[in-house]
């Protein structure tokens, strides 16, 4: 039976089949004439369109390479246009703003002098706060100690005037003078920036002598807001230092140390078998640096206790 089927199928494939002959007789349907006309007309029209589309294809082939080239050129251009280190950009805006403030101050009447001086002082602070004092102060602990916080909850405007401002006035232009001195070393002549800073310093010192009340409360608030808005990449460091600043006055002197030095001191206390002091110091340390990794010697003594 299978052989017969196979034979029949082979015959069918060879074309010697009744089935094929019968099917051939059933081929009675044809493609509709209206469709045939439509297709041939479209096919006859198409050569020009096809040639056109061939041209378009040639253009389309070039679109991708051109797009890629344009993207690369733009990227390189943007890359070259942006300096590698943004700190290389000369901060002329500060100097210009200072100069403008000084000129405004000089041109004001005696009645307006007080308020103008205050504005000039505020402008000076704001302009210099773009990169300093907070940001620069954070970079080194020493500079942080030189520049106390501009305003804290515990300080009154008077205290701010008595304690903060004079130091600040003495400190900030000095820093700027250092910068200006570097510039003048390079150029062998006093730079415009150093002259401007000196002028501003004189004006602000004069202002502070005339206005012992110091910075007005609304200005203090503005400065606080500005500091709050002054985000940068090392905000966590600043936060840590601010936390240190806000600690009560009774905080141990060790908190001024770096974590490693502090831990060294604790280790030394341990070696000297002053365990109570070491434990107290460690407690304070943990308040400030709860997740700081301890050295193995201290880790055994403290982390294991927990």
């Amino acid at each position: 039976m299978i052989d017969k089927t196979q034979d029949d199928f082979e015959n069918y494939l060879d074309g010697n089949s009744d089935l094929s002959q019968l099917y051939a007789k059933s081929r009675n349907s044809q493609a509709p004439d209206n469709l045939a006309v439509k297709i041939t007309e479209a096919a006859h029209k198409n050569p020009s369109a096809a040639r056109l589309s061939a041209g378009n294809r040639a253009i389309n082939k070039m679109v991708l390479p051109y797009a890629v080239a344009a993207t690369i050129i733009l990227s390189v251009g943007i890359y070259l246009a942006i300096p590698a280190n943004t700190s290389d950009i000369p901060d002329n805006t500060n100097h210009l703003a200072i100069n403008e403030n000084v000129n405004n101050l000089a041109s004001t009447s005696p009645q307006q002098e007080s308020s103008s001086s205050s504005q000039a002082q505020l402008a000076f602070r704001e302009n210099n706060t773009v990169k300093a004092p907070t940001q620069r102060a954070i970079e080194t602990e020493e500079s942080h100690q030189l520049i106390p916080p501009v305003a804290t909850e515990s300080t009154t405007p008077k205290q701010l005037a008595d304690n903060t401002k004079p130091k600040y006035i003495e400190t900030r232009p000095a820093e700027n003078t250092i910068v200006a001195t570097k510039e003048s070393k390079d150029q062998s002549v006093p730079s415009q920036a150093s002259v401007e800073v000196k002028q501003t310093k004189d004006v602000l010192i004069a202002f502070s002598n005339e206005n012992p009340e110091g910075i007005a409360p609304q200005h203090k608030q503005t400065i606080e807001e500005y500091e709050d808005a002054d985000f940068s990449l090392d905000w966590m460091n600043r936060l840590a230092i601010k936390t240190q600043d806000n600690l009560p006055a009774t905080k141990p002197a060790s908190s001024k140390l770096s974590p490693d030095k502090w831990l060294d001191n604790i280790s030394k206390l341990h070696e000297q078998k002053r365990f109570k002091e070491a434990a107290a110091s460690m407690t304070e340390f943990r308040k400030l640096y709860p997740y700081y990794k301890l050295p193995p010697s201290l880790k055994d003594a403290y982390d294991n206790k927990k």
């Binding site: 089927t5 029949d8 199928f9 069918y12 494939l13 074309g15 089949s17 009744d18 089935l19 094929s20 019968l22 099917y23 051939a24 007789k25 059933s26 081929r27 009675n28 349907s29 044809q30 493609a31 509709p32 469709l35 045939a36 439509k38 297709i39 041939t40 479209a42 096919a43 006859h44 198409n46 050569p47 096809a50 589309s53 061939a54």
Partner: protein, 188 residues
């Protein structure tokens, strides 16, 4: 122009802008392709696909590169097959619809009368039966059978057009043949 030119030669001429070559090509294959489509879906859809197949050929004629293994007929039936599959997928048709128009065709068959000789009546009855049996085949078997009968494709060519391997194509065609032969046995 020589009417005996091969399909491939005509297509190459048409690529160069010879419209008469296209006319010859079209007249050679239009009915077979139409029947291939018509026996697998309703007539209106078959007409739509038929037109679309030829228009795609016209638009993509520059892409046609005849080789020993790739004939013009294989090329155009492949377009037809793919277009048909697109339609089935688009409509989510699981079972291919038996042509309503085909039923009309059956109705339009010459009515047996006493005027017709017995031999003609017998042939007509067989054709009707064969048409019914073809519609009862599975879609894959029917397509394989139609490709074989309408254009005389080899098993390998059927496999190429339908996108399956040679053994699958041969199996489909064999099952189709056996079912049709067995169905027709009572009439012969």
């Amino acid at each position: 122009m020589n009417n005996q030119d091969s399909d491939e030669a005509l297509m190459l001429r048409y690529q160069k802008g010879d419209n008469q070559a296209f006319d010859l090509l079209f007249n050679r294959h239009k009915d077979a392709i139409f029947r291939y489509l018509e026996r697998q879906c309703v007539k209106t859809i078959a007409e739509e696909i038929f037109q679309d197949v030829w228009m795609r050929l016209v638009q993509a004629r520059d892409q046609f590169q005849p080789t020993e293994s790739s004939r013009f007929t294989t090329y155009i039936y492949k377009i037809a097959h793919n277009r048909l599959m697109d339609y089935f997928r688009h409509k989510s048709v699981q079972e291919r619809v038996i042509s309503d128009a085909h039923a009309d065709d059956l109705d339009q068959l010459p009515v047996p009368t006493q005027v017709l000789p017995d031999m003609q009546l017998d042939t007509q009855r067989k054709i009707t039966k064969l048409t019914e049996l073809i519609q009862e085949l599975s879609s894959d078997q029917r397509e394989a059978f139609l490709l074989r009968e309408e254009s005389g494709f080899s098993i390998q060519e059927i496999a190429d057009i339908t996108g399956v391997n040679r053994e699958t194509a041969k199996s489909r065609l064999r099952y189709a043949f056996v079912r049709l032969r067995d169905g027709m046995r009572g009439l012969t």
